[in-house]
Symmetry: C14
């Protein structure tokens, strides 16, 4: 190890953690809001449960994809980091 | 590796993570709000489900595009960074 | 590479990421609000769907343009940066 | 390049990005609010759509002008920066 | 260029950008609020559209003047900066 | 130029920009709130438009005076700064 | 000029700007709230316009006095600063 | 002037400005709230205007006293500062 | 004056200002809330004005005592500071 | 005085001020809320004034005790500080 | 006194003050909320005063215990600090 | 004492205080909310007091356990700190 | 002890405290919200107490698990820290 | 141990704690919101308990997965850190 690789390693570690922890805040709040609204809609209009459930799942998939973006970047920085690969090469 | 390339690598790593993690907050909250309103609208007016669903999908696509901008910048900084390419050239 | 070009490269990288990630927060929230209001308006007054949809699309275009400003500045800083071009010239 | 021109270039890069990204937050939220209110007003009073649409467009133009101020300053700092011109002269 | 002029140039660049970007937040939100209220007032009382529109325009002009103050200071710092003129004299 | 005058110039530039940009936030929000309330009051009680308009203008003048205080201090710091005059004397 | 007088000058410049810009936020918001409530009260009870207007003006005077305190301190720091007078004596 | 007196002068200048500018935020908001509630109470119950006005003035006096505390400390730090008097003695 | 007494003087000056300015925020907001509620209660139930006024004054006294604590600490730090007395002894 | 006692004195001064100023924010807001609710309860149910007043006073005593904790710690740090006593021993 | 004991003393002083001042914010707000709700409940349902008062006191005791935890830690750090005892041993 | 043990002692002191003071904010607010809701529920439905009280106590126990976690960590850091034991061994 | 083990010990101490204190904020607020809603639901629909209580306990268990994750990480950092074990090996 | 491995260890420790503690805030608030809405929906529409419970569990699983992402990254950084493995190899 030398100073250069250590600096890159530290930056990768810190960034990967920050990325996923900040990145799930928005999607988490949105999924909670969607699920909560779905539940109160179901209580208000039980007959429309099919349409509500389907729209809920499509929406959750869209929102989850945003968290996946962050998770992918976080994983890339830990396991497939091109800068780290160049440094230890 | 030398100081110059290390500095650029660190800046690229940190920025790519920050960009996507902050960039999904707004779109995530907006998609959650849209989905939640769609669900309560469906419960209130089941007959308009076709119009509601179509408008919801168009809106989600518009909002998702904003997160895509951030993801694209994040990917460019990791895999197609012109400054890094110039540095290691 | 020398200290001067490295500094400009780092500033460009960091600024391009920050610009787009902060710049989409406002437009994203606004588009979400517009879409959500459109959905509840459609549920409330299905007969006015033509006017509502048209106004929604004009509004989304106006709001999207604000995010485009940030994306343009971010792309300029990465791919057409006059300071960088001067530095490596 | 020397220290003086590098410092000015870095300040210009960072400021141009910050200016446009922070500067669109307020206009974006305001346009979203205006569009959302227009949509709910249209649903509530479809007969007044002409007046509502005209007032909306005048208002959006006023608000967009505030974002244009920031975009103009950002473009000046990148492409017509008098301090940079003096420095490289 | 020397250290003194560079310092003044950097301060002018950064301050001009910050001034206009922060300075439009308040006016933007206020104009959005005014326009939104005007729209809902028009939907509620279409007969008073003349009075409402006139009051709206007077109010927008007052609020826009606050953003103009910031734009003027920002332009002075870039193009008519007395400290810069003294420095390069 | 020497270190002392440069320091005073930088402080004056930065402070003048910060003063006006922060100083318009409060007045802007207040004017927006006043105008918005005036508009909804006009829609609710069109017969009282004379009293409402007069009170609105008096109130806007009071609030605008607060922004003028900040603009005056900002202009003094740029064009009639006693500390700068003493420094360059 | 020497280091001591420069330091005092810089502190006076920065403090005078910060004092007035932060000091008007509270009074501005309060005056806006008072004016807005007066307008809606006038719309609701036009017969009490004399009492409402008089109470409004007394209240605005009390609130304006708080902003005047800040303006006085800001002016003292620029034009009648005892520490500066001692320093240049 | 020497380093010690300069340091005390700078601390006094900065603290006096910060004290009054932060110290008026709370009282300003409270007075605005009190005046606004008084106005809507007057519109709602014009017959009780004597009691309302008297209670309002007592309350404003209590709240204004809190701002006076801050103004007194600010004036003491500028014109009757025991530490400064000891330093220049 | 020496370094030690100067440091204690600066700490005392800054702390006394901060203490009173931050310390009045809470009591000010609370007194404003109490006065506002008293006013609307008087408008709603004029017959209970004796009980309301008495309870209001007791409550204001309790809340004012919290601000007095901060004022006392602030005055002790300026005029009866045991650490300063020890330092100049 | 030496460096050690000065450092402890400065820490005691700053902490005592911060402790009481931050420590009264919560109790102040709570007492204001309690008093405000008591006033509106009295206006709503004048017959229960005995129970309401008694419960209010018990509650205020509990909340005031929290501020007393902070005041006690602040006074201990100024007048009965064991670390300071050890330092000057 | 030496550097080590001074550092531990300063850390203990600052931490004890911060702990109690931040630690009472949450319990204070909660007690205020509980007392306020109890008062409005008493006004709404005077017959249930026994149950309400008893539940209130149990709740206040639970919440007060949280503030006691902070007070205990604060007192331990001042009067029974094991690290300080080890340092001066 | 040497530098290493002093550093660990300082970190333990500061962390133990921060942990408990920040850690009680959430539980305190939650217990206050639970108690307040219980009180208003009792006033609304006195007949269900048994079920409400029992559910309240179970809920308070769950929430209190979260504060206990923080208190335990705080106590471990003061009285059973393995890093400190290793350092003074 | 040497510099390396001390640094790791300090990082472990600070992180373990921060982790649990920040980590309980979200779960605490959520449990408080759940318990409060359960109480008001019980008051509104006493007949559904079985279903409500069961759903509440399942929900509290899910939320508590999130706090347990933080507690586990905190305990690992204090008592089973692999980095510390490697350092003192 | 040397400087490089120590730096990586410290970064891993701090990041793992921050990641899980910040990462549970969003999911915790969302699960609390979902559970609370489920409870009030059950009280409002007991007949739909099957659909509500099933939708609640699916939603909680989606939200919990976001917290799991953070927990996984935190565990990887402690027990399967590729940068640490490379450093101690």
């Amino acid at each position: 190890m030398d100073t250069y690789t250590t600096t890159i390693a530290v930056a990768s570690i810190v960034t990967s953690g920050i990325t996923i922890s900040i990145g799930v805040i928005g999607p988490a709040l949105s999924e909670g809001r969607s699920v909560a609204t779905a539940l109160s809609s179901l209580a208000q209009q039980p007959d429309a449960s099919t349409t509500i459930t389907r729209t809920l799942f499509v929406g959750l998939a869209m929102i989850e994809s945003l968290a996946i973006y962050c998770f992918v970047v976080s994983m890339i920085l830990i396991f497939a980091n091109p800068f780290w690969n160049h440094a230890i090469a």
